[in-house]
Symmetry: C2
Subunit: 358 residues, 2 copies
């Protein structure tokens, strides 16, 4: 078992990573009253719900089971969580537990942020992607028909409990999607970690426990360090979004859930790196190296072939990371060093999209 | 023009009260970028929207007009605000302006709290109730079919701008509803203010400007002092809810909007005072004095005659102010001194409801 702390003053919390997390003694310290609401989805519930409930025999435990998928990350399905809480008369001292991937975590976190103006919650992420990304840092929310994550809150959990035994049942495609974010941490923040990942990528794809724990821990550490500097994304936190501006455009255009988030981030990261290369900041070899790593992780490295330049420009203009409607991008100055900038010749972005799109 | 400050550290903000608030120089300091979204309702828009827009000629101004009434304070109508923001491509630096009463203020505040995980907003309350209560203190949110204000956030505005010229068009019934909360401040916190109100109630009912400004200012001061001690309602802030536990039950039972909030608070306050009298804390004369004041302000002092004891017990059990499902009540130890407590003989509450209900 390994642990680390996300340092946010009075909102600090631990991340615990290990193989036997469905354990009453581990969970109980983070529940402060009698009521618990587990929120999960119809894929995860048959696999892990009983194990989690077995840890909580001392509590009033209620359950909301959502349909699985990004397509259901909306206000309508968020309301099912409120319905469940109110029907079972949960009060302000209740604790919500998010048992699932990023969608369940984001929705449960936002339900916790907004139910009776804020109750406690615990993250139990069951995908690699949510373990290394969405469960850490307090971004919660749902999608709107006109944009991804447009409704939400910054809201921190009491703890994040990561059980790597969930990889026994994680589909290969979701393992890959998670590795996209893991590789991203190396690219934006830590060249040494990137080297380590390059050396251990085959073991990660083979789900070797010790290598997985190390990769998750280092990813969470990097995210926690960045978030601690900038909880509400006024500045540096935005570097975590390498590949996400392009990636969100891809996800929105294709329809939520058609491309996995990590897949869109992989393709978007290569787009951002090609842009960085055009600006003369990184080399063709740097881009080729990232393409090679993503391909070894079975991830896409080009945008979908049905997207035009105008599709990208139109969808990126409502992206949250834009100030005063200028398209700000996360780019790489070097491997291991990201910047957030709108200070580039717009023609370069046009040329890039012309080259890559239909 | 008068002003005061709500002291909440980095979330502090001013309340400005006067007769010419629709004034560009007053509003502009609280808008930090080019986009502004005015949220109002179909009663207020014909009266004040043009005047407000005239102050904002330097900005991209968009407008969302909601149907008027508590019945529309729900997720469905909240979504109209998100729709408007996204359709007009408002970004994270936008400013929302709530032009209307408590419903518009609560919904706009919550839209601001949750749009792109939080944008700025300004309160321009147009009813006495919202000026002295909901616009101050950062409680925002919407109702759920199973309970009032069950979905929301603590989120502070950039400023509150109170123009008392709106009383020219405020219906008498809404003036009365606001006075319920004004009288409440005297009852819970300030016997001297209660004496002053008793002496000036007729002038308030006649909408005398200087008396109105004084009553609004002192009410906001009391609320600001209480909120500054306890922003997230862990303790003392709950005293502001005198009459609200009973009152919310009345509003929910009758259907939102049938009784005005202030009307339900007036009847609920007398119920809480009768309970305090039964516990031996205040005298029959104290209760009679409050009844007299509410009646002079044309407010109800008894619950609706179609509500049973069980209606109250059932509806109060999901009230947000309950910890572990015990019915906590705000009661008066003395005139000017409220307490929040569940330490009373439950038989006393039963007897009270038996006496007052069908």
């Amino acid at each position: 078992m390994q642990s680390l702390s996300v340092n946010l003053g009075e909102r600090s919390y631990p991340i615990i990573i290990g193989e036997e997390i469905f354990n009453a003694e581990l969970i109980k310290p983070y529940i402060h009253a009698k009521q618990v609401m587990i929120v999960t989805n119809d894929t995860i519930a048959p696999l892990y719900l009983d194990a989690l409930k077995a840890c909580l025999s001392d509590y009033q435990v209620d359950v909301v089971i959502l349909p699985d998928g990004e397509a259901y990350k909306d206000l309508t399905h968020l309301n099912l969580i409120y319905d469940g809480l109110l029907a079972a008369r949960h009060n302000r001292s209740t604790t919500l537990i998010a048992l699932g991937g990023g969608v369940v975590g984001d929705m449960t976190g936002y339900a916790a942020a907004s139910y009776q103006r804020g109750v406690n919650f615990i993250q139990v992420p069951t995908t690699l992607l949510s373990q290394v990304d969405s469960s850490v840092g307090g971004k919660t929310g749902v999608n709107h028909a006109l944009g991804k994550n447009m409704i939400g809150a910054f809201y921190q959990p009491q703890s994040v409990l990561i059980d790597i035994s969930v990889f026994d049942t994680l589909p290969a495609r979701e393992l890959s999607a998670g590795l996209a974010e893991v590789i991203k941490y190396g690219l934006i923040y830590d060249q040494e970690f990137l080297n380590w990942l390059e050396a251990h990528l085959d073991e990660l794809m083979a789900k070797q426990s010790d290598v997985l724990i190390e990769a998750i821990k280092r990813s969470c550490e990097i995210k926690a360090q960045v978030v601690a500097q900038d909880e509400r994304e006024g500045g540096i936190r935005a570097i975590l979004n390498l590949g996400h501006t392009f990636g969100h455009a891809i996800e929105t255009h294709q329809g939520y859930g058609v491309w996995l988030h990590g897949e869109a981030v992989a393709a978007g990261t290569i787009m951002a790196m090609r842009m960085s290369e055009r600006l003369g900041w990184i080399s063709e070899q740097d881009v080729a190296r990232a393409i090679n790593m993503f391909e070894r992780a079975s991830l896409p490295v080009t945008p979908p072939d049905n997207m035009s330049r105008d599709d990208f420009m139109s969808l990126m203009a409502v992206d949250k990371k834009n100030l005063d409607s200028r398209i700000r991008l996360v780019l790489l100055k070097n491997i291991g060093e990201a910047v957030v900038t709108s200070e580039y010749d717009p023609a370069v972005l046009n040329e890039l999209l012309d080259e890559l799109c239909l």
